[in-house]
Symmetry: C2
Subunit: 197 residues, 2 copies
Amino acid sequence: MNPQVTEARPRDREATRERILQAARALFGEQGYEQVTVRMIAAAAEANIALVGRYFGSKAGLFGAVLQGEPGYSVLFDSAPEELPRRLAEYAAERMRHPPDSPILRTLERSASHPEVREVARERLLTAVIDPLEAKLSGPDARGRARMAAAVFLGIGAMRRRVGPTEPTPADVDRLTAVFEACLAESFTDESGPDLG
Amino acid sequence: MNPQVTEARPRDREATRERILQAARALFGEQGYEQVTVRMIAAAAEANIALVGRYFGSKAGLFGAVLQGEPGYSVLFDSAPEELPRRLAEYAAERMRHPPDSPILRTLERSASHPEVREVARERLLTAVIDPLEAKLSGPDARGRARMAAAVFLGIGAMRRRVGPTEPTPADVDRLTAVFEACLAESFTDESGPDLG
DNA sequence: AAAGCTTGTAAACAGGCGTATACTCAAAAC
DNA sequence: GTTTTGAGTATACGCCTGTTTACAAGCTTT
């Protein structure tokens, strides 16, 4: 008997646009580009389907807008070099536990195959993760080392997605720290480490 | 003017079934479950679309048949414990260079989001990779260590897919060896390794 | 040779997708 | 108070998906 069954929402272009954007961010992050439909986004945002096209042009355009709003990982990489592996390990351990709130990597790792998105995903991974991490590294083959650390990130996320989340133990964090140290170490051949000669 | 434009193929149920299976194996491995259509498979196998349904029931059934035919990784894991990290590293380096011919992991890592396939993919990853690797490990938290090594595999594949293949250098293999050693090491807290005290 | 089962084919089905169009209606402008 | 603007809506379009149906053609058995 309520005169308005659904609370009438005031007309607000910007607010609606933002609702769509947030819904898309959450859904793309959870399920990936191709698994999420425009209708799902519109329903989650409680907006009409046509508004997605109106405000973002297309589904791919909306995806690009989501990526543009992501904050990046420079905070994570801004550590003293000797602190970096543990910082990365702690972040990766957090990714083992549950999906993050604002996940470039997560969105990207779930949106690989669609060709329309592949290029933008690749560029985003490079500019948001690999390039800044490479810039933090000194010594030879900084790019290869940054790539390997990024690969571990991708792998952790893929694993969680596959077999479910895991509560990381302190031993896991230690292990991850050692893994990232191995990824980022300058060399393993001509270093005076604990050799097995 | 040739009386048969396309060379007439003799009727052979088993051969046709095998052609479909092989085409599906290749395509699923390259592009993942959802990106590959039944029509693509039928075209690659030079078979009629309806035969896919007839011989495999459904697309998901065909995917399951592909997975069942995969050889598994027991050969890879059958190494002396001290050899295992390098064996894994060499295999992972191979995966950096190009996609393998018969890739469970590759198929799985590309077919995550589709719910129909998710469960079979999860089970396959567990039984084909994580479980046997865990069985090879002694000491505490063998499962967590196996999971982390598997995560590195997944990450390497995801990275190659994202930014393209890379020719692995000897330094890469060394680095990967150290990464897998870190993944599989029994502990990092209470071990008498090169501590930094 | 005729019947019957099997292999392969062509076409259509229902449903979901991203997108586009015509419209309603609230609110601001005059 | 009327007009104009634009946010929001309902609906349909064309396309592609996995699947199924009805049919043609071969091989085997009788």
